[in-house]
Each structure stands twice: as C-alpha cells, then as structure tokens.
Amino acid sequence: MELLKLFIQSVFIDNMVFSFFFGMCSYIAVSKSVKTANGLGLAVTFVMLMTVPLNYLLENYVLKAGALSWLLGEEMASTVDLSFLSFILFIAVIAAFVQLLEMFIEKFSPSLYNQLGIFLPLIAVNCAIMGGALFMQQRAFATVGEAAVFGFGSGFGWWIAILVMAAIRERLAYSNVPKGLRGPGLAFIITGLLGMAFMIFSGFQMN
C-alpha cells in the first residue's frame, strides 16, 4: 500500500516534467511524433527502473558516511565519508548502464534496436535519470524496493508527459500559428498549460 502511494505520487503529483522540468531538452526535441516519443518514453522508464535502485545500493553501501561498515568494521567506517564522489559515480553508473543496455538490445532484439536507435545514447545525458538518482539520495528511502518503485513511477510519469505532448503537436501541424511562435515557442507554452492541468493533482491527500 505504501508502495502504491509512492508510485501514484511520483507519476502524478511529483511529475518529472511538469513539476521539476527534468528531461526538458529531449522532451521538446523528440515530441514531434507519437511513435518516436513512445520509444523514448519506454527506454527512459526502463533505464530509470534499473539505475535508481543501482545507485541506491551504491549510496547506502559505499558512499554515505559510515556506509562501508560491512568492509572496514563500524569504527573505521565512521571516519570515512565518500559522499563528495556521488556525482561522479552516479553519472558513471548511468553512462555504463546505458552503454550496456545498448549492446544488449543490439544483440538480442535488432528490431527494437533499430526503432530506438539514436535515442539510447541520448538517455545518458537525460536529466530525468540523473535527477532521479539525486532525488533518491535526498529523500533517503528506507528500502531498495521503494527506490525501484520511485524510479519506475518517475520514468512512467515522464513517458505519459511526452506521449500527451507528441499527440498534441501532431494535431497542431494543421493549425495556423504566428510565425515566431512555431516550433519550440509554442511547445513551451503548451507544456506550461499541461503543467497547470497537472497542478490539480497537487491537491491530492496521499494518506
């Protein structure tokens, strides 16, 4: 039940795009057609589901103050605080995982690989993924399960957001927009309006 709450909260209330602006760059650039948006959304959700718990383990068993007690014993470990390394290690885990995933998909499912193609390497610099890892660190979840649900929920929220946006932009192709506003300008204003719609969820009581 706790986990379900966390999931709904991270999909709707704390939506990655509309309340934190994570992953805006690829969100604006790739939301021109529903098909590609769908592929990128799927890839982001999967990478977040995997990297957030991975980074959670790293944070709690290597980086945090006193986290190395399994290796050095309680006394020694309390003097070691590696948290200044967290940015470098988080991004290395994400980049390595994306690289691994790319090789894996290429080997076992060439059709999916062709579909996702250029989007896979792009995911390494998608702020939503790094943002997920940093929020995980800030909120200090109790178990690795919670971290996984948070990662999945956040990725899923991003997926929904980019799908809605792509659908709207496909319809917009037929309307007569002022010249200066075409393309990114209008995309931002639409995202703003969608964000206002999503603000409704912030009134939800989750307890």
Partner: protein
C-alpha cells in the same frame, strides 16, 4: 582571426543563444528561477563549468580515443561540478540549499556536453575557453530575465528587497502566485522565444 575569436564569445549571447535557439539546458533554467539570486548564482556556476570543461577537454582533445569520449567528458564535467558544489556550500550556503539537486544536474546540462562535442573537441584551447564563457553567459542572461519577471510579479521584490511599494497593496494590488509555480516559467520562456524569433526572422520555422 582576432575578430573570429571574439565572435565565439559574443555570438552565443543573443544571435545564437543556447537556450533560445538551440533549446539546450532548459531543465535547470526553469527550476531555479523563482527568485533572482539563485538564478544569478546558477548562471555563474554554469559559466564556470562550461568555460573550464571546454578548456580542459580542448587541451586533452588529441589524447582521447573517440569511442570512450562520452565517459571521459562526463568524468571531467562531473569533477568540475563537484568542485563548484563544494564552493557554493562553503560561501553561499543558503543559495546552495535552494538550488538543491539542480547543482548536480549541471552535469547533464546539455549546453556543456553540447559545447564540448561541437566546439572544444575540434578547436584550440583559447577559442574554446571564450566559447564556453559566451555560452554560459548567454544561458545566464536568459535565467536572469526569467528570474526578474518571476520574482517581481510573484513576490513584488528583487534580490529579496521589496520593490512594489506598500501603497499599491493597500490600493488592492495582489501578487501573482502563479508566477512562483512551474507552468509560469514555461510560458515565460515560450514568450521570450517568440519575441526573439520575431526579431530574428531567419530563425523562424516554415
């Protein structure tokens, strides 16, 4: 030659602004702009990281194998961001608290990766440094504009000092609370892009 080097500094400020034209680095541009002060600090931090990552990677450019360049870039950038983060924590702790995770997100700021890929890896160190500074300042300029509008209309203040006089409030003026919420930032960026493209006709899409 001199002129060209100088252009790599001034071009990104308006004509080829990274935020407005290349639509890069939006994530942090929107999140930290509810007030002017964090926006300014963020702009300066990104300028520093962008300048030094361009410089370092431009010096290393002949030694990096092509296949692992993304990882090398990320490690250099992440190290620089870690330094900036610690400096911010030491000297402007309250702003650093306000920026929270967005300092860490400078690593994945597409402007920095983009400039390294597009410029530093194929140019000499000095132009790369200037290009980094120019792009960082172009980003900072947009942040300051958004921060100015949001703080003035959302709080009635600038840099934390009250600007809109008390008598306005007595006459029935009310702060626009929506300005402090995420959607307002998106709409302001949309309008800035609109104005920018109306004045630079060659950027418009058909």
């Amino acid at each position: 030659m001199k002129n060209k080097t100088f252009q790599s500094l001034t071009n990104p400020l308006a004509k080829n602004n990274p935020v407005l034209v290349q639509i890069l680095g939006i994530c942090s541009a929107l999140a930290v702009t509810t007030q002017l002060k964090p926006a300014l600090v963020m702009g300066l931090s990104v300028t520093a990281v962008c300048a030094f990552s361009n410089l370092v990677l431009s010096l290393l450019r002949n030694g990096i194998p092509d296949r692992i360049r993304i990882i090398v870039q990320l490690v250099v950038i992440a190290a620089l961001v870690t330094i900036v983060n610690d400096i911010l924590k030491a000297y402007v702790y309250d702003v650093s608290k306000q920026l929270s995770v967005y300092v860490g997100l400078i690593i994945t700021n597409c402007i920095i990766m983009g400039r390294v890929e597009a410029f530093a890896l194929s140019n000499k160190p000095l132009p790369s440094l200037l290009d980094g500074i120019g792009n960082g300042l172009g980003y900072g300029a947009v942040l300051v504009i958004i921060g100015f509008v949001r703080e003035l209309f959302g709080n009635g203040s600038l840099f934390g000092y009250q600007i809109i006089p008390e008598c306005f409030y007595e006459a029935g003026y009310v702060n626009n609370g929506l300005m402090l919420f995420p959607p307002a930032a998106l709409i302001i960026v949309g309008i800035i892009i609109w104005v920018h493209r109306t004045t630079n006709k060659d950027l418009q899409e058909k």
